[in-house]
Symmetry: C2
Subunit: 659 residues, 2 copies
């Protein structure tokens, strides 16, 4: 073999998928296994054919009710309201729904997570007592009416009003303009009886910002109530089993008690009172409850990604195409380097996100089950959830697409699942927070942390005001590191091909590289913002000029978070039969990320041509080494065949798998 070609090292025995599954599932193995089996038992397979919309919606509602009957959703809610108070397990269980029909997942997310979550996190004990039980059993179908046609990401600008009529002791909920109609609201078009409506609260002529109220929208027989207008959103790109719709309110009256008043009350005296004086802070505390939705969407995207990889890897391990000349046999798709490169780095990153997601769920569980409220920790958790949601959902879009293409024409048939996975997950990148906006939220948090102070969330103001000293320190630190890095990385002399950089597979080196990138990008942004905000600069203009840089900082941060979570996950592994393959996956994830970002590392003196080439070679070698483990690595996701469903993956399409 010439030096440019490296043979795969002999790999150890393939890992045991069942053992790997237990390790991946961790503390929630039992509930996850239960839900995976439940999906199979209930026949919650994604449709292999296009169902008429009404039929599909009815099916999804039926599944949801059946699921509610198992008591699974009640895990989410506090024991005081008849629940089990185990949000971590509930979210882990929800994640498993992502292997099945994603309309069911989203419908459950709306019902139990968003509507139930609003009542739970924004309501008082009386609200809990009255509603949570009925939410958990799906006796009461609810909507989360936040988004308006004119206002998606900018929730603070919603136009719907809730004015207090002190004489009647009632709220008057109203849609003042066409752009204020509530839009894309799940459960609205068909099933919803009540909505948590986000509106600008007005009491005695004073405006208090966005608050949520419970507003009945249909009676028990499903008739739309007076003053409420509902329109179906019509057909969507995917998630056709969810009944999204638009809602208008025409001076609809609800009792004073319907305000979800955890963060702001109006007493019988008609006076507004909130423990959080600052209007902005009150708003961000209120919508902080969205975090659970983001964590859930991130997990759902992860499950769909795993399904797509499970199908594509199995197909690639059965389907033959071309092959050695003068040989009757064609080669398996997975034997081709280009095919390995399509699937295996994405599989490695899926593992990485898996561990980041697991930590995120644990963090959220802790936050939701302790009474100690730490504002700073809460903001950090929110930023983490935002960043990982963006990473996980973009990774899903990218991976499902790559898997579809890797299955060719067979991948285009609806029966093989990619159609639904692609269409259903597509909206994940822009709902529960548009990914771009979420990354800006992450960046804002990072800049905020720089000055070690919480409260006012306007990062630009802060930077302008306090930033100088901190920024100087950061810039200096990162410049110092850059200089050290540059010295360390002097191009070795001699032949490129013979250059063998052993450090690239050193975990500390990899972690350091990701950390260095994050700090360096962030330092650069901070410096630019500070420079830009001198004098009488137009704040918006300065921020906008840096927007791509700000987003890069957030991405670098999220990449580091995910890598560290993966590393911690592996450190906790004490099964020697799993370690070697997990170590390889870690290297493949880390090095393929560095390879993708190598332009930036070159630009900042941390990459040399020989090292870059060594990384590409290492990625290729790791792909070859992992090739024989690929199917065990996707089998470890433990998706029952009945749920995986694709004939090309479960051996029911022999016609296209033979050569």
């Amino acid at each position: 073999m010439p030096s440019t070609v490296s043979a795969p090292e002999a790999t150890s025995a393939a890992p045991d998928p069942a053992a790997l599954c237990r390790f991946l599932d961790g503390e929630h193995h039992d509930i996850k296994e239960e839900v995976r089996q439940r999906l199979a038992d209930f026949g919650v397979s994604p449709p292999g054919e296009q169902l008429p919309r009404d039929e599909y919606r009815a099916q999804v509602t039926e599944w949801m009710v059946k699921l509610a009957e198992t008591g699974q959703p009640a895990m989410l809610f506090p024991e005081s309201a008849g629940g089990q108070g185990d949000p971590g397990a509930a979210i882990a269980a929800f994640e498993m729904l992502g292997h099945g029909d994603l309309s069911l997942l989203v419908k459950c997310g709306v019902q139990f997570g968003l509507f139930g979550g609003a009542v739970h996190h924004l309501g008082n004990e009386e609200h809990h007592r009255r509603y949570l039980g009925k939410v958990a059993t799906a006796e009461l179908f609810g909507c989360f009416a936040m988004t308006e046609s004119g206002h998606g990401s900018n929730v603070q600008a919603v136009e719907t009003t809730a004015s207090y009529d002190g004489d009647a002791g009632e709220w008057v909920v109203h849609t003042p303009t066409e752009s204020a109609r509530k839009d894309y609201i799940g459960n609205a078009a068909r099933d919803g009886r009540m909505a948590a409506v986000f509106a600008q609260l007005e009491v005695g002529g004073e405006e208090h910002g966005v608050h949520a109220l419970l507003v009945p929208i249909r009676d028990d027989d499903g008739n739309v109530l007076d003053g409420v207008t509902i329109e179906d959103d019509g057909d969507k790109l995917g998630l056709q089993g969810v009944d999204n719709g638009r809602i208008w309110f025409d001076h609809v009256r609800v009792p004073r008690e319907n305000l979800l008043d955890r963060y702001a009350k109006v007493g019988e005296d008609g006076l507004y009172d909130s423990p959080i004086e600052n209007k902005d802070r009150r708003f961000f505390t209120t919508i902080g409850t969205l975090i659970q939705g983001r964590v859930s969407v991130s997990g759902a995207a992860l499950s769909a990604t795993k399904s797509s990889l499970a199908i594509a890897v199995r197909y690639a391990n059965r389907r033959r195409q071309f092959g050695p000349p003068d040989s009757g046999d064609e080669a398996l798709l997975l034997d081709y380097r280009a095919h390995q490169r399509r699937l295996l780095p994405r599989l490695a990153t899926t593992y990485a996100i898996h561990f980041a997601q697991r930590e995120l769920v644990a963090g959220l569980h802790e936050a939701l089950t302790t009474d100690d409220h730490d504002d700073h920790a809460q903001r950090q958790l929110e930023a983490r959830a935002a960043g990982i949601k963006a990473a996980s959902t973009w990774h899903a879009t990218d991976t499902i697409q790559a898997c579809r293409e890797a299955c060719g024409g067979a991948g285009y048939l609806m029966v093989n699942r990619f159609a639904a996975m692609k269409a259903d997950t597509d909206v994940f990148t822009t709902f529960e927070g548009d990914n771009t906006i979420l990354l800006q939220l992450v960046a804002k948090g990072l800049l905020t942390d720089f000055k070690q102070r919480v409260g006012d969330l306007n990062a630009l103001e802060m930077v302008r005001f306090y930033g100088e000293q901190v920024m100087d320190q950061v810039v200096e630190r990162s410049l110092a590191r850059q200089v050290i890095g540059a010295f360390r990385d002097i191009v070795p002399s001699g032949d490129d091909e013979s250059y063998d950089d052993e450090r690239i597979e050193d975990r500390d080196w990899q972690l350091d590289l990701f950390r260095w990138r994050e700090e360096h990008v962030l330092g650069g942004v901070a410096r630019r913002l500070r420079a830009g905000l001198d004098d009488d600069a137009d704040t918006f203009e300065v921020f906008n000029e840096c927007q791509d840089h700000v987003l890069a900082a957030a991405r670098a941060h999220v990449d580091r978070l995910i890598l560290e979570a993966f590393a911690r996950g592996l450190e906790a592994c004490d099964d020697d039969s799993l370690k070697p393959v997990l170590d390889r996956l870690f290297d493949l994830h880390a090095l393929s990320t560095v390879e993708r970002e190598r332009g930036w590392f070159f630009e900042h003196g941390r990459m040399t041509a020989p090292r870059s080439k060594a990384i590409t070679k290492a990625v290729n070698r790791l792909c070859a080494e992992l090739r024989n483990d690929a199917e065990a690595l996707t089998d470890a996701f433990a998706i029952p065949d009945k749920v995986l469903a694709a004939p090309i993956a479960i051996g029911e399409d022999k016609a296209s798998a033979t050569g």
Copy 2:
């Protein structure tokens, strides 16, 4: 303004969309305009809602028949068969169908392009006389039965047999195994009456490789004929208006004359005779006729890409979100740098591919209308078509996705078009040649050209046999350039920020950079193949080890082809009101491509940190400069509002466009 922030230069007046449209359309402006209007007149809008499959198929068939009645498809066929012999105009017209319903486009592609093309390019004058007229008027619905369940890209391995029964003077067409069933065949499930079947020809016990024959599959009343079994492929990810299906043949007999015998005849004497002795060469000549399909798919992808950009740009120019603090107004999406970065480089690349596509159509027209057959030129045209099809269809997938995300929730509603565009174009990357396989075909052609000899298409054999000297020359040449390049690019001393590289907007420098990359990657591959194929290496193994490198060479080649085509297109522009904006688009396309590939340029000594940063700054500046022209640039695609159809683009969704 600080030095890190560059203000957009004052731009000249926005270009006139009508003038720009005429320039873009070029010689086919009239027919393109006619088809765009026809789509509007016929109401060929993509469905804004999910239609039941049967209804949708019926609608598409009706549209196709109506289209056939206009005489448009007949442009494709020779005058001797009642056509107009203007394939260039026919393909340009077909491209415009890509703005409308893509099921109609694909149905027409199957009927007129593939089935009609097989009769036209593989048949004799008698076949033309008997069938082409009826194909053009859609009296005779036909299938192109090439792909089998077990054999997609590897057409040479199809298993269907056509054995000659000399006594009866008939062919016996047979499906010997389950993997040999014809699959994904358009027009099969519902409308097809006859199929051009690709099968292994066997005459008098001798095998002659893959040939095509006409086999009736249904009678005039639509009943499936004896010996033929047809199954619906069922629901698909997209293109639900096309009736794809599977076909099995059980010893089906057709007359001797049904062999499409341009490249091989069997006479009354039962003897096989072909002007092309080499079996491989005969095969590649036969399937060379696929080129028209590839050119057409490339054009269709381009049109869908333009539609998606037209919608997303208009939405971004109306929809407001957030904005300057303490201001009542929110900013337009298109004012945000991150949004500009999402849409405008992709718009620039769409323009680049537009010119490459136009040249490709002109080249194909010339090849189809001259009697001079030049094998080498034909291979080059095939490679060009393969490469541009891969680039155009991947660009479509990427751009439509980016546009969908850029329109948030509104983009997820079916009525706003992205649902259908995403789903329908998705298969473009893997049908009419899987893009990865097509890029390998391109690379094969490049390696073949190295030894300046055509014929045997086995590049590996060639490289092994003849390659050494040529490879040496290439390697030396590219190494010499690399050294020169490295000297030219020595890092300038001084402050990064003050480094201003004027050359990066010099067109010759840009072209040279793309050419250098191509030659360098190609030289590297050739060197590795040569080194690997020394001794008794396993050819497959060596090729596979280089596969990612081979694909990179093909991509570099295609990038260069596209850039050069764009440059030639602009050189031909003599309208001074259009030049400045087109020049900016060119720079944006070129520099954003270099930015994307900067890791590679660094790795090969052609990039420095200051230059890389200058390129990023230039991309940002070009985006800002083009921001105000963006809508004129998409209006120039002249897609009628009735066809564009998306309410968010044609002003019918004011609710979501206001702030």
